[in-house]
């Protein structure tokens, strides 16, 4: 075995001498540094996505009126400060693209997948650290390439973030040529980064769990991130393949989606949504996992029904693969398929209901501490329920005939993505910030930001249900063109103003986030008194995380365990009766 020990020693003597700044912070192979790099990158793109949303909302609230300060925009986008219709379509496309692919997905999978998985399972780092570094440094050029699309001739892609063919396949239809190609290339490159990341996560969770960390002692956040990594691994390549085919339609003149040449426009929708639906579960499952951890911590009580929660995550992941057709009920797809997809879509409401009631069960009989992450987690449950319930309207195919492609759908999207994922992200960033940076974010300003965001979020997106009920179509530049939309302009103005206030209140989070580095209260190892393994090492944890390999004795939710003085029991501390016990 000497050859192996020697090889092992050779590979790691790199740690003994001090790494150069570049190797340590820029091209680092430490999962924690990469996690923070993803965090900074995705917060920038979250801001960009938010800015685009403000322009959209201005045009919908005050159609054809010059944007205050809009003169700064070039003539090709907004002559005299008034948005052009084609630029409006680019805004809608890019708002969706940046928010989904470059903000929420990296924030959930890139940041917390990287940061939490090794720490919470007791591993020193990811299974393939260099591959992990490449995964980040492939995502950055994809983001820059996507940003550059705004400044090319013909404007940025303008066929929606779903880029349905043939609108996206033939440049003449939108007047966009380089923009759509850039969009497709950037998505393909980002896909490569996601696939590399997912391979890393799956191998790490399967192989590098600390002794005693059996599958049913894993925290729910790790279960969620592991199942999400499988979804990423198997869904993203479908999008890469479809994007390449669409790219060839644009460049080599192939006819995949061009009916004149024998192609099928519906083929793009099938491929896109076969990726698309697992994608939306990629965007929500990690949030669900982390919210379960935070609510258990906040309630000082084990998660209610740990096994049903794990089963619900797996059920959502499996069912996620057979529901994609509900995006295409009215698209000319075979109506019999519509009935089949309705049934599978309605079934997927069951695991979501299980999770919701289990979160409530966790709070029941708890001793609730309302720290900022707990506030965000409870609002996640409250808002996600509204998103889930509005999904029931679309699952019923006849009702979907009326509300498909209206603002009812936009309300549903934002209630699950903003009300769901983003609230969970705010909570998770605040929760693991002390572990990442060694200092706490200011709790008072955290609560102010939570309250303002919660109020303005509802003011912005709840009225969209009403717009949808009145048939207000989505992605239209100027609703005043239609008589039946005239009376709704008042609601549009209310939504626009609330959206501006919502955007403004995010500045509190940014300031709190940045000031925390310098002026945040020093956080010890375990500021939230949590049981996870990451709270048993100094904050921020050293390279290699654990001085000695931790041994895990029980599940992560042994709060208020009988026979234990404190109301929490870190996983590496044995139970009073010395027994090892799965999370029940």
């Amino acid at each position: 075995m000497t050859s192996v020990a020697a090889a092992a020693d050779h590979a790691h003597h790199g740690e003994t001498h001090e790494l150069s700044f570049v190797r340590k912070y820029v091209f680092s192979t430490d999962h924690k540094v990469i996690g923070i790099q993803f965090l900074l990158m995705s917060l920038v793109f979250l801001f960009v996505g938010g800015l685009l949303a403000m322009l959209i909302r201005w045009q919908l609230g005050f159609p054809n009126e010059p944007i205050p300060g809009g003169a700064a925009l070039p003539e090709t986008m907004a002559p005299g400060g008034i948005l052009l219709p084609e630029f409006y379509n680019s805004l809608v496309t890019m708002h969706g693209t940046f928010m989904i692919f470059f903000a929420i997905m990296p924030l959930l999978v890139g940041v917390f997948g990287n940061y939490l998985i090794p720490l919470k399972i007791g591993a020193p780092d990811m299974a393939f650290p260099r591959l992990n570094m490449w995964s980040f440094w492939v995502a950055v050029p994809a983001g820059i390439l996507m940003l550059s699309g705004f400044f090319v001739e013909g404007g940025h892609a303008a066929a929606g973030w779903t880029s349905y063919a043939p609108l996206s396949a033939v440049s003449e239809y939108t007047g966009v040529s380089a923009g759509q190609k850039i969009w497709l290339l950037s998505i393909a490159i980002l896909g490569l980064s996601s696939i590399l990341g997912a391979t890393n996560y799956i191998t790490t969770v399967v192989q590098l769990r600390a002794p005693g960390m059996t599958w049913f002692r894993l925290p729910l956040s790790i279960w969620a991130l592991f199942i999400t990594a499988i979804l990423v691994l198997l869904a993203i390549p479908i999008l890469s393949g479809a994007a390449i085919m669409l790219f060839f339609d644009q460049t080599l003149g192939t006819h995949f989606f061009d009916p004149a040449g024998g192609g099928q426009p519906l083929l793009w929708q099938h491929l896109f949504w076969y990726f698309g639906h697992p994608e939306v579960y990629i965007l929500i499952l990690p949030a669900m996992g982390m919210v379960s951890d935070i609510i258990a911590n906040g309630s000082r009580k084990p998660v209610f029904g740990y096994h049903s929660m794990v089963f619900a995550i797996i059920a959502i992941a499996f069912l996620g693969w057979i529901v994609w057709g509900h995006h295409m009920f009215q698209s000319g797809m075979n109506p019999r398929l519509g009935t089949g997809f309705m049934i599978s879509t309605l079934l997927i409401a069951v695991p979501s209901a299980i999770k919701t009631f289990n979160w409530m069960g966790t709070m029941w009989l708890g001793s609730l501490r309302f720290h900022v992450p707990m506030l965000h987690a409870i609002s996640f449950v409250a808002m996600f329920v509204i998103g889930g319930l509005s999904g029931m309207f679309m699952a019923s195919t006849p009702v979907d005939i009326y509300i498909h492609d209206t603002y009812f759908i936009v309300a549903h999207i934002h209630y699950v993505l903003f009300g769901g994922s983003l609230f969970a992200i705010f909570g998770a960033v605040t929760y693991w910030y002390p572990k990442m940076f060694g200092r706490l974010m200011n709790p008072f300003w955290g609560k102010v930001h939570w309250l303002l965001t919660f109020v303005f979020f509802n003011c912005t997106f709840f009225p969209m249900h009403t717009l949808g009920v009145y048939g207000h179509m989505r992605r239209i530049y100027d609703p005043t063109q239609y008589e039946f939309l005239q009376p709704l302009m008042g609601i549009n103005r209310f939504i626009t103003i609330s959206a501006f206030l919502l955007f403004a209140s995010q500045i509190i989070f940014v300031v709190n986030f940045v000031m925390g580095w310098f002026r945040g209260a020093r956080a010890g190892e375990n500021p939230w008194e949590d049981n996870g393994l990451e709270w048993t090492v100094p904050s921020p944890p050293p390279h290699g995380n654990f001085a000695t390999v931790p041994t895990v004795h029980h599940g992560p939710y042994e709060y208020s365990a009988p026979g234990v003085v404190e109301d929490y029991l870190p996983q590496n501390r044995p139970l009073p009766d010395g027994a090892g016990r799965d999370a029940r």
Binding site: M1, V4, A7, A8, A11, A127, F128, P129, I230, L234, I238, L266, L267, H270, L271, Y274, W321, I322, G325, M333, N334, R336, L337
Partner: protein, 100 residues
């Protein structure tokens, strides 16, 4: 990132290597038979079915003997087979658009 596991893996790797030349001959023979079947005057649907079955058979041979799935623990087989049902779902579902 070598580790103790490498030695553990080396231990297990000494499973019986099958006679690869036999598998090679089988693959070559199947390819020749396929070439023959492709030009038979039978109805197209039958020819296509036979060809697809032979292709899958060759693919399984490669997976079992060359990729050693035959000698792996069931856990590894799950990783290998997991994506296949997903591949079949999309193709079958979209094909029903044109048949049903």
């Amino acid at each position: 990132m070598t580790d103790m596991q490498a030695s553990q893996a080396a231990h297990e790797e000494h499973f019986a290597h099958p006679n690869y030349w036999v598998v090679w001959a089988a693959l070559a023979a199947l390819t020749l038979v396929e070439l023959g079947v492709a030009f038979l005057p039978w109805p197209r649907a039958v020819v296509v079915l036979i060809l697809v079955v032979m292709a899958v058979w060759k693919a399984v041979l490669v997976a079992l003997y060359f990729m050693h799935l035959r000698f792996e623990a069931n856990r590894m087989r799950i990783f290998a087979l997991a994506p296949l049902p997903l591949a079949v779902i999309i193709v079958i579902a979209v094909m029903t658009e044109f048949i049903w």
